[in-house]
Symmetry: none
Subunit: 234 residues, 4 copies
DNA sequence: ACACACGGGACCTCCCGTTTGT
DNA sequence: ACAAACGGGAGGTCCCGTGTGT
């Protein structure tokens, strides 16, 4: 029998609440719900993730869900928030030495992204990209939330590049913000394509290209980065 | 049900079939359905586009819809096919002079993409990217269709780059295919972000960066392209 | 993915009209449609058999179908008619020698039924029983048609038994008509259970019991039948 | 659509949920749903019974229906289960005195069946037979469920007959199991025909014949049963 | 006689969110 | 804080039958 009816991307789900151990720990419960939401929406997207699924994944019932979150959209927003914050937390590690060479910091950022791309069995996916694709055109408040997260990333990179422009000799009159958006596009595009082609290595290669591209913008890129050409390393 | 909070990603739709003018022109009807599907899905995505909406947009009833297409997924697949074919048709114009300099062809391709990005009031969106984002992780046959379209694009660019390597002096031992995926990532990432930020200009700027990047790969890029630096033009 | 939506008992069907050879033979076309209807309804019943399936099975399109038959119900009625007539045709062979012993004729009838039960790989099913089950309580005209076919069978058997009562010595004051309904119940019940248990042999065994039962009604059943006890034969 | 000819096997249904008296009594609600399903399916069969009808009959909304049952098939299965269990419960009354004569028990069983057949204004119908007829050929899991219920009945009767064979003198080397299937066929066939002919009395007559048939199998059937010949009683 | 686009209308399933109860 | 019955309302699919065209 072929698949008819609504296009199901998920398994039907029988509620199965946590095994009678009611923890009564609100923040913990919230966290579990958000985690479940993130896991599911990264795979299925917003519309195809149902509240029931989230509850099943978090071992809770809908009663709890709607006690903690007003709507599905609300939890999606929070999940995206948490997801983005976690990302920014990781990225921040690249700049822990503020006196450092900003170009070096940028390369460390790329290192972190590269590790992220390689760190999972499945290619990495971004909540912001996922929710943007689905809701940007129809849900303006969600769109604005996505824009804010995108801005946060690029502002971080813009700062690094602006600093780099003061400490290094830019080859052309590049606008730091533009380059930041370029890098973010590479990042989002790579994740999208990587997920589709189930190919994490391409993401890594792209990041290497991005790295080379950044180097090519400055006449005096530190030699340590020069070697990191887009050619294949053994 | 007070509808409060319900995340409506779709518009309620009044069916209103074509005013008794039964055109009885199947290919035309199919085309209209596919057009409607493309228009709607580019805005709302797959899941949030309902068959009712498609029918209303195409002035047809749901009953008839399923005479032409087995499922919503089927029409989405065909719409993507049509979309991609149309794109490849446009892109092919860049290579109409096969004896041409392949680098010149690649730049013409970027011109075409740039025009596409500017040509619409709303930022451009790609069916392949959209369907990938929503369905890659859960619908393997759809995923494979997306992969094929992605491959088609990059194979085209790979050919251009491979030719360029024979006619120009590559600065580094670049792999044509890798660069093609890089360019495709920029393209897809730009469209995704452009849609979210409602900013077509950024897409154009990114394509300019991509252009500069391509030039930077060859020591003897034709001078005519050299001027097209990523800096802002007046 | 589990089966959702409407409970499908059939395969979805793509119309595939006869290979361009339009026979234009109305009676033949009707026959094919009726045959297809019979085949399908014996398996799926009335409601679960769709007009599209019938057309596909008969290699025709709905256009033809509704040219020949007003409604699905109409063809079902005709199919049942044809089915019953064919059955009565077979049964009639038991009485070709009208001067014969009526009890002998009845036993020949049971022989024929027994052969029918064994003659197919799948246990035999009866259109009358099938349509009765589904429509008797809701569609009175269909119900009456079923009743007529049932009456036809039992009237035939009633005649045989009535004759037998004149030529043999009934053990008790049996009413021929009652025994006929009893035998028909055994027949219908056996087919129903045989279909469910996928067991044709049980039908045959039941017919053997029925035979013994008939014999037990007469003190002077011809000795040739006496041996046919319900015990298992080697 | 002029609705002409359209075979309506269902009644159009206005949803009308319980008048704001939300009983919030799940087992009771389930029971009502199952009862409604049984009532409706016994009349219309499986396919022609709609979930809407069931809900209307149970004063519930469709939304709630699927909280209690996964699919229409699921509720049909449960309804059949309940139906069969109830039947077996009744039948068990025939054997409450286990030390009793097994033949007497069997006759009491036939008494119970006879009372069942007479007890309703409409002729009695069996869920097992109905679901078998419609689904045996196409839904194997349903078919197996039906087979189990059939086996349960015949095993019960087989036990009685086997006991009878030890306590009485069988006329022929009858196989208890075969006779049980014979009796079940009579029972199912009678119900099918009775429903179609709207004739409960024929069922009762058939049971009387069955009774006589059972007696005829034993040389020493208790005399009290002897009188119960298939002839019409005043 | 037949093909086929199309309409109208369910039908099953599902899903978000509310309400009642513990 | 959590459980779970329930409501309202789509959403996708299908199906019978019509009408136009060949």
């Amino acid at each position: 029998l072929t698949q008819r009816g609504r296009t199901r991307t998920y398994q039907p789900v029988r509620m199965q609440p946590r095994a009678s151990k009611r923890s009564r720990n609100a923040p913990e419960t919230r966290r579990q719900l958000i985690d479940a939401t993130t896991r599911l929406m990264l795979r299925h997207g917003f519309a195809a993730t149902t509240v029931d699924q989230i509850c099943a994944e978090a071992r809770l019932t809908k009663g709890s869900f709607f006690h903690h979150f007003e709507t599905k959209e609300a939890i999606a927003r929070e999940a995206m928030e948490t997801f983005a914050q976690a990302g920014m937390g990781l990225y921040a590690a690249a700049c822990v030495t503020p006196t450092d060479d900003p170009l070096k910091q940028l390369h460390r950022l790329l290192d972190i992204m590269s590790e992220l791309a390689q760190g999972h069995p499945d290619p990495i996916t971004c909540m912001v990209g996922m929710l943007s694709q689905e809701m940007a055109a129809t849900n303006s408040s969600m769109r604005e939330a996505c824009v804010q997260h995108m801005n946060a990333w690029t502002e971080m990179v813009t700062r690094l590049l602006a600093n780099a422009k003061t400490k290094h000799r830019p080859r052309v009159d590049l606008k730091a913000e533009d380059v930041a958006w370029m890098l973010y596009s590479i990042w989002q595009g790579s994740m999208l394509i990587g997920k589709t082609r189930q190919d994490s290595k391409m993401i890594v290669r792209n990041l290497r290209h991005a790295r080379a591209y950044v180097n090519s913008l400055f006449a005096d890129s530190p030699s340590e980065f020069k070697t990191n050409t887009p050619t294949e390393q053994p």
